[in-house]
Symmetry: C2
Subunit: 269 residues, 2 copies
Amino acid sequence: MSFFDKLTAAIDSNDSLLCVGLDPVLEQMPNRYRSGDSQWMTDLLRWNLNVISETYRYVCCYKPNIAFYEALGPAGMELLRQTLSSIPNEIPVILDAKRGDIGSTAAAYAKACFDLPNVDAVTASPYLGRDSVDAFTAYKGKAVFVLCHTSNPSAGDLQTLLVDGRPLYLHVAEQAVTWSPNVGLVVGATYPGAVRDVRAIAPDAWFLVPGIGAQGGDIERTVAAGLCGNGQGLIISASRGVTQAEDHKTAARQFREAINQARRQVASA
Amino acid sequence: MSFFDKLTAAIDSNDSLLCVGLDPVLEQMPNRYRSGDSQWMTDLLRWNLNVISETYRYVCCYKPNIAFYEALGPAGMELLRQTLSSIPNEIPVILDAKRGDIGSTAAAYAKACFDLPNVDAVTASPYLGRDSVDAFTAYKGKAVFVLCHTSNPSAGDLQTLLVDGRPLYLHVAEQAVTWSPNVGLVVGATYPGAVRDVRAIAPDAWFLVPGIGAQGGDIERTVAAGLCGNGQGLIISASRGVTQAEDHKTAARQFREAINQARRQVASA
């Protein structure tokens, strides 16, 4: 089953556009997961597995960011494998890796990412152009989300420079969606104006939208700006707002409901 | 000792601007390293260690690209650790990782890279702007080489788009060198015109220049375009041309000599 087939099936069955980020940072682990001895890797795994078991009925996908696993060394990569293996088959996974290298090297990155269990899609940088992304879309059924307008404060250093009177990120959007039908775009919720402008350029593309919750992005404005005509087209990602919550299930349901309420407002407008 | 101190010391003692890429691809391993049984990870390590022991007197640094190690799974990351550990202390190492993510995630990538043994510098993408690079330069003595104009065929998809009448990569060069004194630039040898134009914008910056040898970049034109007034400023990287050679030592010496001959031509011009 391809990423997008799995995605739309999960959106339908869970009535959700919520993606939960699985980013284990020891300092951010809720106290209830701390066993008090040196078994912090086991604690981190228990944290991830609990988040998954409590939220998988309320999400459309999961998004582990590989940086946090790499930072934990070899045991961290084993934590990633075990976390990925525990994700139910019907929920697709975007590995947030933001890779980008020349063709032959990109092929090595693609192998590294897609050899991991249950990885259906990855994020990639557009800076090296099309051949750096082709290596990922060459994998049948896999998807690639190309960075377009990111959620961080420095996003504008490059992304909003004007090219022919239009910001660079719109040129990225316009180009990237032609590279493969399996290309989506990363557009941060912290810049709803950017979400709107990218939607105008790429009316049918899937957007992976990080930045709601801890980073301050607003759900209502994001959905109003980016929803497709069919009420889909957005994968809205929250990490800390769910994984650090007292109750992961309640937090995920609240995010899902806030998103769905915004979807209904768009539908009725 | 900082990366740049180690680098200039190695340049002086080995009279070399040559960097050797350590990119283990099983299909490209010379036959003499194949033991014929299933011990191919041991074979790859022996290959890397032989390249290092035969070339470390003729290089100014090594540049393993982490993608090729990641593609080999957990054993590949152990191969990277053992390879890094075997590099003589006086030769600096640039880990080619091309990372780029928002601030908190970039900090996790920086930890992952600099926790590896003997890594003195990394490569990073500029697409997310300054805060994605700050996490790396925050490590005292470490350096970051920011992608400016890459060596691949699609480099121009984004990098040469015109911003205020100048290609994007020159804006990247201009910005990135202000982010930290420990920022260098990646400028591919396959586009000598780009090397020349970036040098005009960033007269004192260190350039990491991939693309000579297998990728077709020309040493003479690269050196003429990019050498600093002091006869340095370039780290010229070759991978397959050395690692797949019959004799690594001879290949490295030939690259070094070709580069030095081009340096002498510039000095006498």
